[in-house]
Each structure stands twice: as C-alpha cells, then as structure tokens.
C-alpha cells in the first residue's frame, strides 16, 4: 500500500529568480501505467521551451498537469511563483493554453470568441473592445469579424486560437502541437507570432512533431517513455549526439523507446 506524501508547501527559493517553471519528480500514474515518470526540469523566463517526444511519450499528459487540468500523482511543481498543488486558480490566471484541438467555439463568430475569453479572464469591456480591434488588424481578420469560426481555414483558426490564449498577457503559454495539419508557409507564419509573443516577455512552452520547429526553440527536452532523456539547446544536443539536425537527434533517442504508441 502506497501512501501519498504529506503535502508540504514548497521551500523558499524553490523557484529561482530567472525561472518561471520548476518541476521536480513530476509523475502521472494511470493504474499500473506510468505515463509521466518523475520528470524534472526548469523553464527560464522568456524562453521558447520545446517539449518533444514521440506519440505516447507523455508530453500531453505532462502539459495537462502543468496547466492544472489533470492532477499529478507525485512531484513538486512551481509555476509563475505559485505551488501547483495549492494555487491552481492563481496559476490559471498567469497561463494561457492552446491544444491541438484549438478549442475555440466553432459556432461563435470570430469577435465573439475573443470577447468570451477576454471576459472570462476578467478584461474590462473597453479593454476587450480594444483588444478585439487590435487582433482583427494583426491577424488580418477584419473581413471575417462576423464569420463563424467554423468557416475559417485551419491556419487562421490556429492563429486566432493562439491570440485568444494570450489575450490576458499571461506569463507562460502552453502550446500542444499548435501547428498540426497545415502547410510549411502557414507554420512559419505561426512561429512568427510565437516569436512576437516571446519578445513581449511571454514564456513559450511548446510541444511539436516537426523537428524543423524544434530548431526554433531556445532549449529542447526530449521525452522517451515518460522520462526526459535529453534537455539542452538544439546546438548542444546536435553536438552531443553527433547529428546534423534535430531530426537525427530525435530518432537516436526515440529508438530507445520500448513503449508502444
């Protein structure tokens, strides 16, 4: 019989000055299956942190725990200065999230989606209006303001979903395979938005399947079978594994996987 550790508040200085996320021994267990197996990592303020791994390696599960929509089985996590075990709601105010399903309301119009999430995050009426105008211009969606999100092309939906996810100027935004299913040009456009956000000081935590995107990240972690097998800058990882590109690095590591997808 296993007892859950007595929950203690995080020690003073658990999260150092320049960091926004620190996870120690983060674990998720579904019965006998350990989806995420005691992973530890730190994410620096303002960086683009690539969170890679094959399907089933546990990336999405780990990300959901960090976002507070899945409970962790074990571990200590501090996000934006708050303990994940105790202050989920406060953390939620400081983070944005966009999943591979880019969950905007398809039966709401473009401006209505912006308004809804603006309102939920506590923006004031005039702030919402200002933000809506700004986004419509920036995303070049002015003509589509009154279109249902359902009718937008996939690439535009992704851009809109990303903009909505950072509408409240969060400290961190979590992106779960944000660019699935679109052409390279559209993906490039999306990454420009990511860079813009990072420049504004928003930390980006992103999972992806595209290894060219991994090259865009400041640092990259690679998960294999629920564990982090490597974590460093793309350049150092390539050096370490004697590879020309991240694709080779990824395959070298992913080959070690024993788990089925």
């Amino acid at each position: 019989m296993k007892f859950r550790k007595f929950i203690q508040p995080l020690e003073e200085g658990f999260l150092s000055e320049g960091d926004v996320i620190r996870a120690e021994g983060l674990t998720k267990q579904f019965g006998n299956f350990t989806a995420v197996d005691h992973i530890s990592f730190t994410v620096h303020k303002g960086e683009i942190f690539g969170f890679l791994g094959a399907n089933g390696a546990g990336k999405t599960t780990a990300m959901k725990m960090l976002c507070g929509i899945s409970t962790m089985t074990d571990g200590q996590v501090c996000i934006a200065g708050y303990d994940l075990k105790w202050h989920v709601r406060r953390i939620k105010r400081e983070i944005g999230y966009m999943s591979q399903k880019f969950s905007l309301y398809e039966d709401l119009k473009v401006w209505e989606n912006i308004r809804l999430f603006g309102g939920i995050y506590g923006l004031k009426e005039d702030e919402i209006e200002r933000k809506t105008e700004l986004l419509l211009d920036r995303l070049d969606l002015r003509k589509q303001k009154n279109s249902l999100v359902r009718s937008l092309p996939l690439g535009w939906k992704q851009k809109l979903a990303f903009s909505v996810a950072i509408i409240h100027n969060p400290k961190i935004v979590f992106l779960d395979e944000p660019t699935g299913g679109v052409d390279p040009a559209t993906r490039r456009g999306f990454w420009e938005m990511i860079y813009d956000a990072a420049e504004q000081g928003i930390t980006i935590f992103v999972t992806t399947h595209y290894m060219d995107e991994a090259e865009y990240c400041d640092r990259v972690s690679i998960m294999v079978d629920g564990r982090i097998e490597a974590l460093d800058t793309p350049a150092r990882l390539k050096e370490m594994y004697n590879s020309d590109n991240m694709d080779q690095v990824f395959h070298t590591l992913a080959r070690r996987a024993k788990r089925d997808e």
């Binding site: 507070g68 709601r89 809804l116 999430f117 939920i120």
Partner: protein
C-alpha cells in the same frame, strides 16, 4: 465573468436552428393536442345485453342505456356463455344481465338485482363504465318509483341520485389535465436541453479550454443554468398562453406566484440535467440517462395516477420527486386559486431539491481529469 458565459450560451442556442424551432413549437403543440388525448372521459362503451326478463320494463331500461352517449348496445346474448364470448372476443366491454322476474320484483318488492360484468383489462374503462351504468340504473329505478307515485325516493334504501355527476355534460376532463401538461412540457425541455450541454462541450473539446481558465465551478454551472431558466419561463408562458387561447383556462390564483415558484422547479430540473451531463462522456449516454430519470419523474409524480394508491416504495420516490410538488402547486393555483400561505408546504421541498442538486452539479463538475 458570468455575464460573458451566459451571453455565449444564448448565442449558441440562437445559432442552433433546431432548438430555435423546438423551444416555442413543442409547448404550443403539446398544449394544442394533448388535452384532447389525455381526457379521462369514457365514451362509447360497448354493451352486450342478456335479458332473461323480456318485459316492457327491461326493454325500457335497455332503451335508456342505449340512449346515452356513453353506451352502445353492440350485441344481444341469449345465455351466459354467449355473453362471456362477447366479452372475450371484444364485441362488448360490458354485459348487463337482467334476471327473469326483474319487472315483477321491482313492482312488487320495490327492489331487484341486476348483474353487470365488465372487462377489466382496461381498468379505467371498466371502472368508469360500471359507475356510469350504476348511475343509469339507479336513476331508472328512481324515475320508475316516481312514475308509479307509490314510493318516495327516501325509501330507495337511502340511495341518492348524486351520481348524476357523471353525466354532467359540462364536466370537462380537459381542464384538470392542463396544469399537469404544462408541468410536463416544462420538465421535458428544461431537463433534456441542459443534459446535452456540458457533454457537448466535452465532445467538441471546448471544455478543456474553459478548464484552463480561472472560471470558478459556481460561475460555470450558474452561467449554464440561467439561460435554461429563461428558456423555462418562455416555455411556461407559451403553454399558459395556448391553454388560455384554446381552452379559455386561466389560473384562479396569482400568476406572479406561479412564475415565482416555477423558478425553483425549473432551476432544480435544469441542474439535474447539468448533473447528468457532468457524469456522462457522450451525448448518447446523457440522453438515455435523462430519459430514464424523466420517465420516473413523470410516472411517479401523481399526474397520471394518484400517489396514495402507489406501493410504499413508489410513494418514497414520489416524495423526493420535485414534479410531485410542482404539479400539485400548478393544480392548486390554476383550479383552486391557492395563495402563497397554502402552498408553502409544497414550495419547501422544491427549494431543498434545487439547493442539493445545484451543489451536487457544482461539485461534480471536475476541472481536473
């Protein structure tokens, strides 16, 4: 924050063509059609006559029976076996057996007996039919005594002619059914619609996006309940309006009181829908669970069968069933004109039901998997 959530729910309902048609049309149709169909009035009961007497008096009685709009003489039996055949083959619902010497006994002894057989497969038809027939016979006997001028009514063994009640042509069975039907249609709509709601967001994945936001459980559930309360008020108003226009029926009591009390009932049933939605992972699952619950709620609310004649376990269910109380309240306000003070005993259970189910719906909404 709730404001934006409510706004969003309304926009979504507004965009749903099906709901937009369903919400006003269903109550209107139900109120137009069902009061005619749910009438308890028994008409055209088929009777087989087994007359052993063959006297002018027995002929007169048969004539009297067949002259009412309730009975049709569809067969004449020569003996008991034939009469039984008529019932088992469905030719007749009832048999009236007039014994030999009926006239003689009635004239000489002032009393006589008849036998009435009824096919009780259709219980209410048998019950009502027997009562009607009894009343006709009593009336017949009374008339006869008057006609002979020999005996006064009092000597008829204290039988009163009260059952005339059954023949009162203006006694309209549609009227008491209407408040019950209003409750029924409100329950259906404000029960089923919310049960589809949260689970639909689960299926489309939008709930995940809501869950990463700091929306509180209270705001989330309240934001979903309030639109259904407004829908419930619209449905209630349409049903009340149609029953007024079609049947001229309006509540004897205060309509404001009616609307005021309806808040607790509508919110309670809607919260139950959301509760089911929380526990379901597919729309199908939510719908069938709700179906099951709504059937129990309707059957054990006393609107179709009296609660007092239910077995004890069913009475327990009826006692925790919010429809039991709201149906009673509607009936009392509509037909009797009861006031707030009269109705308090029925309002408390509605409030308690709402508070418990709302709290449960709030707690069972899980933001974390």
């Amino acid at each position: 924050m709730i404001k934006y959530l409510i706004e969003k729910e309304f926009k979504q309902i507004w965009r749903d063509r099906f709901l937009l048609v369903l919400i006003p049309l269903l109550p209107a149709l139900v109120m137009l059609v069902f009061p005619w169909a749910t009438t308890m009035e028994i008409k055209s009961v088929n009777i087989s006559v087994l007359d052993y007497d063959h006297t002018p008096l027995s002929a007169k009685l048969i004539n009297k029976i067949s002259s009412t709009s309730y009975f049709n003489i569809t067969a004449v039996a020569m003996n008991k076996r034939e009469a039984n055949d008529h019932i088992s083959s469905g030719v007749a619902d009832m048999v009236i057996e007039i014994p030999n010497g009926f006239e003689k006994e009635l004239v000489n002894d002032r009393t006589s007996s008849l036998m009435v057989l009824a096919n009780a497969v259709n219980g209410s038809k048998a019950g009502f039919g027997t009562s009607y027939l009894n009343a006709i016979i009593i009336d017949f006997a009374a008339q006869m005594n008057f006609a002979q001028g020999a005996i006064s009514l009092n000597t008829m063994g204290g039988i009163s002619v009260e059952p005339y009640y059954w023949f009162n042509p203006s006694m309209d069975y549609k009227i008491p059914m209407i408040p019950a039907l209003i409750v029924l249609i409100v329950t259906l709509l404000v029960g089923f619609l919310p049960s589809m709601n949260i689970v639909a967001e689960k299926e489309s994945g939008t709930i995940e996006q809501i869950n990463v936001t700091p929306v509180s459980k209270f705001a989330f559930i309240a934001g979903k309940l309030i639109p259904y309360w407004i829908i419930g008020v619209i449905v209630l108003s349409i049903a009340i309006l149609v029953s007024y226009l079609m049947f001229g029926l309006q509540p004897k009591g205060s309509i404001f009181l009616l609307y005021g009390i309806s808040i607790f009932f509508i919110l309670g049933i809607s919260a139950m829908g959301l509760l089911i939605s929380n526990y379901s992972s597919t729309m199908q699952q939510a719908m069938f669970t709700m179906f099951f619950l709504i059937i129990i709620i309707i059957l054990m609310s006393g609107i179709l069968t009296p609660i007092s004649s239910m077995p004890e376990w069913a009475q327990v269910i009826a006692a925790i069933n919010p429809m039991t109380y709201f149906a009673e309240i509607m009936k009392l306000i509509y037909l009797k004109g009861s006031t707030l003070a009269d109705l308090m005993q029925y309002i408390y259970p509605l409030v308690v039901f709402f508070v418990i189910i709302f709290a449960w719906a709030m707690l069972s909404y899980r933001k974390r998997g």
